[in-house]
């Protein structure tokens, strides 16, 4: 059985539907990537899982439980941790406080996770007392991912973690995602950098116009002519 399953999900913000029937699954321990042109509903599909979007049709199941329309903090309680693309840190809180907010639901000692995040993203250690708003884009992304890791997620939702980052940073982020995954965390990844993302993913989905268009293994999608066209016009 898969860890996360979206079954024919429809919905959007306000009155307008952005999702017109999206289905996808993430298996235990898998990295799954969602690609597609802007406006295809990739981010919206991810937000639907977190309860930030009005779902008007279909079902979202996590670990055997129906979480369709659940409250956002209740989804986090199931250790589904979401990292938005923009506005993914609390700018006036320090780096360390940002990470503490990630552990908000935990009552036990989270010193070990804190140390692990600093190991994973060494630059953060020196900046732990700085407000996150003063960091560069790449460092913010590290804080954002670190925040999500503090809850020992079962499933990590990453929305374009490499958007606007330099190639060096991008490469590093992708490596870290693989490292996180190796510790047993399942990852659902929305990406514009299709090739790299498909490279690290077990499987991928292509969304167009709020619907599934293609799915398959990373290599398969990379070789697909239509997918290539979508991103570079052939």
């Amino acid at each position: 059985m898969s860890l996360l399953a979206l079954e024919d999900v429809r919905g959007g913000y306000g009155e307008v539907d952005v999702l017109n029937g999206v289905s996808l699954t993430v298996g235990e321990g898998e990295i799954v990537v969602v690609i597609g042109p802007n406006g295809a509903g990739k981010s919206t599909a991810m937000k639907a899982v977190t309860g930030l979007v009005n779902v008007r049709g279909g079902r979202i199941v996590f670990a055997g439980e129906d979480i369709t329309g659940a409250r956002t903090d209740a989804v986090a309680r199931r250790r589904v941790c979401y990292v938005p693309q923009e506005k993914n840190v609390f700018p006036s809180l320090t780096v360390e406080e940002n990470l503490e907010m990630g552990a908000y639901l935990r009552r036990d000692d989270f010193g070990r996770e804190l140390a692990a995040v600093f190991d994973l993203f060494p630059p953060l250690k020196d900046k732990r007392r700085q407000p996150a708003g003063s960091l560069s884009g790449g460092q913010r992304q590290m804080v954002a991912m670190g925040r999500a890791l503090m809850l020992q997620p079962r499933l990590l939702l990453l929305d374009e973690p490499t958007a606007g980052l330099s190639p060096k940073f991008r490469e590093m982020i992708f490596e870290r995602i693989q490292a996180i995954n190796r510790t047993g965390v399942s990852v659902l990844l929305v990406e514009q950098n299709a090739r790299e993302a498909l490279g690290i993913a077990a499987r991928g989905y292509v969304l167009v116009m709020g619907r599934n268009r293609h799915e398959g293994s990373g290599a398969l999608l990379l070789a697909d002519r239509e997918v290539a066209t979508m991103f570079l016009g052939g």
């Binding site: 309860g51 903090d73 506005k87 609390f90 700018p91 907010m101 908000y104």
Partner: protein, 286 residues
């Protein structure tokens, strides 16, 4: 010497402005609207203390914690009945609703206690004299207690889990939800703190002057001026704003009729807005 005396009085006023403005700023940061009923929450707190004093025959200092608790409870209740249902609408609608709440609160107070001036304890307290300056014990307590309370709040926001969650939600409500923060609880805490500080400001101001149904209303402009000067939504900035407004108001009495004290605060705020629309103590962001 007059100047030093005016500064002293200015500090008392600043303390009261700070207690109210911090609440206004906190509520603005988390609930994203200008809480117009804040002045009348201050009034409510002051009169609740009076009720405890008269019914329980106790000193005002014993009545204060009771008034604080009941005001905080009232704030949560009003939020539950009115503001909560309007959260999805625009901020101006919430603001307008708080105008309605303000008039209801003020006139409940007026209906129950009447329009006349009241005091907690009859009799005149003579000020202490030293080095030509006059200061009553109560006034000293007001200044010291306000500093203690606001430092306490600052520590609360810095050190406690819920305090940090409040700052987080003020930064970004959606990201707070995503992190598993129960935002309803944060909202309740905001009203508890805002209400408690408002009630304290009310009791303090009534101690320093007298009880009057428009007591809080007369302070409201000062709260907003201080909060805006400090960069609205940044509670600690409001303290600096309150100092400026309080001191300027009292110092103005040296060359203007004292009745224009509150007008000075307002004119000062407009002047600052012209030069720096985000407030003088706000960091430039974005």
């Amino acid at each position: 010497m007059d100047i030093v005396q005016a500064i002293l009085y200015g500090l008392i006023l600043s303390s009261i402005f700070a207690l109210g403005a911090v609440g206004v700023s906190l509520i603005f940061g988390i609930l994203r609207f200008a809480h117009f009923a804040h002045g009348d929450m201050v009034t409510l707190g002051a009169y609740l203390a009076l009720a405890v004093v008269t019914l329980g025959q106790v000193s005002v200092w014993l009545a204060l914690p009771v008034a604080v608790l009941v005001t905080a409870g009232a704030a949560i209740a009003v939020d539950h009945v009115v503001y909560r249902r309007l959260r999805r609408t625009r901020p101006v609608i919430l603001f307008l609703a708080s105008v309605g709440v303000a008039f209801v609160l003020r006139n409940l107070v007026l209906g129950i206690w009447g329009p006349q001036n009241l005091v907690y304890e009859p009799g005149i307290k003579l000020p202490m004299q030293f080095a030509g300056l006059r200061l009553k014990i109560d006034q000293l307590v007001i200044i010291v207690a306000s500093i203690a309370l606001i430092s306490g709040l600052a520590l609360f926001l810095r050190m406690t889990k819920i305090g940090k969650a409040m700052r987080a939600m003020s930064d970004d409500p959606d990201l707070a939800r995503v992190s598993g923060i129960d935002t309803d609880a944060v909202v309740r805490w905001t009203w508890v703190l805002g209400g408690a500080l408002a009630a304290t400001a009310g009791v303090f101001h009534a101690l320093d002057t007298r009880l009057q149904p428009t007591l809080g209303w007369d302070l409201l402009l000062g709260f907003f001026a201080a909060a805006i000067l400090g960069g609205i939504g940044r509670p600690m900035g409001a303290i600096a704003g309150a100092l400026v407004i309080g001191l300027a108001s009292e110092l103005s009495t040296l060359f203007l009729p004292p009745v224009y004290r509150s007008a000075v605060a307002f004119v000062l705020m407009i002047a600052v807005l012209l030069i720096r629309p985000t407030g003088i103590f706000a960091e430039a962001r974005r």
